[in-house]
């Protein structure tokens, strides 16, 4: 069974660039989540989709972060323009979407902004 796939695994960007991170959820999952993980802040929710509809877009991350689900099996997270403080690991997760359904996490994309 294919788990959650994320590409690229590593990304290096110059300040001000636009970067796009990609995620393929587990087949048949209804919910998709994007998180940012840093040592200081821990795991923070960026976006949450249910059946391709955006349910939450993470408040503080609205202005430069935009997540989309182009179809039920593919999602992107665009950061535009990037800033050094965006350096973090970006995790994608998916779940079946019932109360106690566990989220399945991808391996993450490590972003470094110079």
């Amino acid at each position: 069974d294919a788990g959650v796939t994320q590409t690229p695994r590593h990304e290096v960007a110059e300040k001000g660039q636009t970067i796009i991170l990609k995620c393929e959820p587990v087949s048949g999952h209804n919910d998709l989540f994007w998180y940012r993980q840093t040592k200081i802040q821990g795991l923070e929710l960026l976006s949450y989709f249910r059946s391709k509809s955006l349910m939450e877009d993470g408040g503080a991350f609205k202005d430069r972060f935009k997540a989309e689900m182009l179809n039920s099996s593919f999602s992107t997270l665009k950061i535009q323009p990037t800033e050094p403080k965006d350096s973090a690991v970006y995790l994608c997760a998916s779940s079946l979407g019932y109360n106690y359904a566990e989220q399945f996490f991808g391996p993450g994309t490590r972003l470094t902004v110079l």
Binding site: V4, D31, F33, G42, L43, L45, Y48, R50, E56, L91, A93, S95, G97, Y98, N99, Y100, A101, E102, Q103, F104, F105, G106, P107, G108, R110
Partner: protein
């Protein structure tokens, strides 16, 4: 409001010793609780989850956790740790009708020889 507290940022144990990682949660509704493990440069992997019934739940690799409603706790245990258990462990809370996760800050476990 929902919250999860993992009071120990770092825990060091000797190989073969028993382990308990603590987790306290705050939530007025019915909690759904999870423990995840994160190995270096990997995503989070589910160890176990609790949603109802027997308060002691078994997970993978010999891990178990005990839910206590009276103490608002969900502590993780293992009878005998192995060096490969060295990782970061997250306690996670979800609630009824709310599919979002609330994460604890994580406990970094180091197993020494």
């Amino acid at each position: 409001a929902q919250s999860v507290t993992q009071p120990d940022a770092r825990v060091t144990v000797s190989e073969g010793a028993s382990l308990q990682l603590r987790c306290k949660y705050s939530y007025s509704g019915t909690p759904y609780l999870f423990w995840y493990v994160q190995y270096p440069r990997q995503g989070l992997q589910l160890l176990l989850k609790y949603y109802s019934g027997d308060p002691v739940v078994q997970g993978v690799n010999g891990f178990e956790a005990e839910f206590s409603k009276s103490n608002s706790s969900f502590h993780l245990r293992k009878a005998s740790v192995h060096w490969s258990d060295s990782a970061v462990y997250f306690c996670v809370l979800s609630g009824t009708g709310n599919y979002k996760y609330v994460f604890g800050a994580g406990t970094r476990l180091k197993v020494i020889a």
